[in-house]
């Protein structure tokens, strides 16, 4: 499937990997891909702007969500572990912010996609087919995420569309006909 990706679409996937690494994630989920698309200069970003979505705000909000998921304070609390206390102790011994930095050095190699991200990419293929396109561009990736109903990325994207007073149909139209939005 990746061989049919345009360079913008490939860049978005590479960017998603960087976002995941920065957030200390073990895998790439569709929210990471959405950050890559929103921050990228391709058709996805242009389509979001065309329907009035503040793409920088979307990316920033997602990055904030994702950076918190590295260490699961709630789950650790269920084991009786006070993450804040561990963090304070680690700060004393290893320096400020050591615990949060510790992960980034480790994640050098390949980060796998979650099944949720794979599904979004497959749905992007379907969006390309629907549009009669022989290649998958980053706008299709965006629509693929939107089609992946119930995923966290889809929820965030739908919320952003609603907040901008627009909807999925308008976004699809903006992706399919970028020239119509330019005027």
């Amino acid at each position: 499937m990746f061989e049919r990706f345009t360079s913008d679409a490939r860049n978005a996937v590479v960017e998603a990997q960087i976002v995941a690494r920065q957030a200390g994630s073990r895998s790439i989920e569709s929210r990471h891909v959405l950050v890559g698309l929103a921050e990228g200069g391709g058709r996805a970003g242009a389509a979001l702007e065309a329907v009035g979505v503040d793409r920088d705000a979307v990316a920033a909000r997602l990055r904030a969500q994702l950076s918190e998921t590295g260490l699961d304070a709630t789950a650790l609390a269920s084991l009786g572990i006070d993450l804040a206390a561990v963090r304070r102790r680690a700060d004393q011994v290893f320096g400020e912010g050591a615990l949060d930095r510790a992960t980034m050095k480790r994640r050098r190699g390949h980060i796998p996609f979650t099944s949720d991200a794979k599904k979004s990419l497959e749905l992007a293929l379907r969006e390309a087919v629907r549009a009669g396109s022989s290649e998958i561009h980053d706008g299709h990736l965006l629509l693929g995420i939107l089609r992946n109903a119930g995923s966290q990325a889809e929820l965030e994207l739908s919320r952003s569309l609603a907040a901008a007073g627009t909807d999925a149909a308008a976004l699809r139209s903006a992706v399919d006909h970028p020239e119509a939005q330019a005027s």
Binding site: D72, A77, V86
Partner: protein, 67 residues
Amino acid sequence: MTETLLTAAGDNPREGLRAVRALRELADRLESLQVERARELGWSWQEIADALGVSKQAVHKKHGRRI
């Protein structure tokens, strides 16, 4: 503590597995920090491996490249 352990060893797999995953992530990070510090303090890979209860090869493979 008895009550809290029930979650990880409890009857809800989703919550239990999430707790195990969180614990592993925390342990990995602490291991990374401790190994790095031990190396800075001049510990050999063998000494670190003994303290962690793993082989020297295992600890070197996991941490060797980045320190």
